[in-house]
């Protein structure tokens, strides 16, 4: 299958007080459509930074990132925002649900921006919540849910726009073993049944073992290693 994500010679530096800190050095990485890739590496090696670049919430210092044929490093702020909402689903380590909104309303957030009617939105939200198995918790607020359930709501929010790519930054990092297991099974299903391309950062070898491909980052350099 074709490469849906192409990272070409990407470097990323941060500046503080005109001192340059290079975080990623000349990274090149291709991800095929429908692939499930895990990204591992020690803390501070640049995993989150790379994920942010690929998902279009940060920009590379050098290099190109081509996703589905679009060079997203060239897009301006607002086209990038639009592009993100159409193409990428985000799952964060700390779920990042809006506490004053119910599970239903949280999942509805990304499609509030679309032209969908209220009834259509309801249908989409219910489908997404159905996939993560939380139909019965629609009217619960985040604080009325367990960590694992919160993360499942977050995953429903990530897939409600039906994006081709899912990015997840340590999605199980804050969960106990059981809940983490459920989330991983869900990720696998999204990959297999719904053909989502998944890029997942993780510290957990067990989690990484669900992926087809594991890549290691070490101090900003990519080391290839296939499972």
């Amino acid at each position: 299958m074709a490469d849906i994500i192409q990272v070409k010679n990407v470097s990323k530096s941060y500046w503080r007080d005109s001192i340059e800190t290079s975080v990623l050095h000349d990274i090149s990485l291709d991800i095929k459509e429908g692939e499930f890739m895990a990204l591992m590496g020690p803390s501070g090696s640049g995993k989150t930074t790379l994920l942010n670049l690929i998902s279009g919430i940060d920009k590379p210092t050098r290099g190109e990132i081509i996703i589905n044929g679009t060079d997203i490093s060239r897009l301006n702020e607002s086209s990038l925002a639009k592009w993100r909402s159409n193409n990428i689903g985000f799952v964060f380590q700390f779920y990042n649900l809006i506490p004053v909104l119910t599970a239903f309303e949280n999942v509805e957030l990304p499609i509030l921006l679309t032209k969908l009617s209220k009834a259509e939105r309801k249908q989409h939200v219910e489908t997404a919540l159905n996939i993560v198995g939380l139909n019965d918790r629609m009217d619960h607020y985040p604080k009325q849910l367990s960590g694992g359930q919160e993360q499942r709501v977050a995953i429903a929010r990530a897939i409600v726009t039906d994006p081709v790519i899912l990015v997840a930054d340590e999605p199980t990092g804050d969960l106990d073993r059981n809940s983490a297991g459920e989330i991983l099974i869900l990720m696998e299903r999204l990959n297999q049944e719904f053909n989502k391309t998944i890029l997942m950062v993780t510290h957990d070898p067990h989690a990484a073992s669900k992926a087809h491909v594991i890549r290691h980052l070490e101090k900003g350099d990519l080391i290839q290693e296939t499972v």
Binding site: I57, D58, A81, R84, I98, V100
Partner: protein, 386 residues
């Protein structure tokens, strides 16, 4: 709109903080409304003064009298249509708290010059004929339940003794700003009594009121009048009634100026109160705003959410404050002796000011948080733990 729910839910996130902020804004709006009402009431008492009336008083102070004989000389100045006069009587009606102006006036001309005191012809005729009669304003009649034929007894202080007057007329105010809290009686009655009891004070007039044909001439006519009495024992100072009124309440003018100033300081304080609340909220929600941006929400959306919440709070506070201002101002006016301000009401301009301020405050308080939400980069926002 779809994000209204989020705005509403956001504002309820810290119920106590939001409630306190709304309460604070409401209190400030009430204070603002009350202060503005005092200020506008003060100015309207000056505005109520007629432009074609001049007041001639003793040049040192209006507490010193002028001789009655000046009347003829003033009347001869070209451009003068009519000359009338009055004395401040003072005295006490029943008890000291009953404050209203009591003036000894020239019965023949006073109502001609003060044509905003509307008196039926038959009442005026009866008043003119009866030397110990008086005319009272409609507000006095209402407040003390007085009707034609009733007797008003005053305890004199400037003019000692017990004075009895029969009510023969009740005048209606022509304009809202017209003072309907005056009691007017015959100067000649007062003067006759003085002749008998204190001959030294007979013929004293408090001030003359000069009706002129053309308000544009007021300056030159004033100069001419004062010129006549230059170097006499009682020099005069002539000024327009508005200037006289202003001088009369000069002592309060510094207070009014500071009230004026404070009323706007209050607006500034509310801005800080709401601004503080909004900044705290925006800071706490740094991560959420970054998440919303990640999900594709634009800067405009975020600005709308923040501004919406700010306006919601400022409108609620402003609205509650404004609604409460009405009963509070009318309650307050009960404690102000009638006659100090001819009009004590919330003016439309005060309402406009309050509403305008609420909008302005809502916008200003949202500016900094919006700026912060827009300039925080997503990656920094997501990492933010605050």
């Amino acid at each position: 709109m779809k994000i209204l729910k989020l705005i509403f839910k956001n504002s309820l996130r810290h119920k106590l903080r939001t409630a306190l902020t709304i309460f604070g804004i409401a209190i400030a709006v009430i204070a603002f409304g009350l202060l503005r009402t005092v200020v506008t009431a003060w100015y309207s008492s000056v505005k109520a003064a007629s432009a074609n009336r001049l007041i001639v008083r003793q040049s040192v102070s209006f507490i010193f009298p002028l001789p009655y004989s000046y009347r003829e000389k003033i009347a001869q100045v070209p451009g003068v249509k009519e000359v009338t006069f009055a004395n401040w009587f003072g005295g006490t009606y029943i008890d000291k708290n009953n404050f209203f102006a009591r003036l000894a006036v020239d019965a023949d001309t006073y109502f001609e010059v003060y044509n905003e005191f509307v008196l039926p012809k038959d009442q005026l005729d009866t008043f003119k004929k009866e030397r110990n009669s008086c005319v009272i304003g409609a507000d006095i009649a209402k407040k003390y339940h007085l009707k034609l034929g009733d007797v008003i007894t005053l305890d004199g202080d400037i003019y000692p003794g017990r004075w009895e007057f029969v009510v023969r007329g009740i005048y209606q105010p022509k304009f809202k700003s017209t003072d309907a809290m005056q009691m007017l009686f015959h100067w000649s009655y007062l003067d006759e009594t003085m002749k008998q009891e204190m001959p030294g004070r007979a013929g004293d007039v408090g001030w003359f009121v000069v009706l002129i044909n053309d308000p544009a001439q007021s300056a030159s006519i004033s100069n001419q009048i004062d010129g006549i009495f230059n170097n006499s024992t009682a020099e005069t100072k002539t000024e327009t009634e508005a200037a006289f009124q202003q001088g009369f309440i000069q002592s309060s003018s510094a207070i009014i100026t500071s009230m004026n100033f404070i009323s706007f300081v209050i607006i500034g304080i509310i801005m800080l109160v709401l601004g503080n609340t909004m900044i705290m909220s925006a800071r706490e929600r740094t991560r959420e705003y970054a998440v919303l941006k990640t999900l594709g929400f634009s800067g405009k959306h975020l600005a709308g959410i923040i501004l919406g919440e700010s306006l919601l709070i400022s409108f609620l506070g402003g609205g509650i404050g404004l609604l409460l201002t009405f009963p509070i101002v009318s309650g307050f006016s009960q404690f102000i002796p009638k006659g100090i301000f001819p009009v004590f009401e919330i003016e439309p301009i005060t309402i406009i000011f309050s509403c305008g301020s609420a909008i302005l405050i809502g916008i200003v308080a949202a500016l900094f948080p919006i700026q912060r939400a827009l300039t925080t980069r997503i990656v920094d926002g997501i990492r933010f733990s605050g």
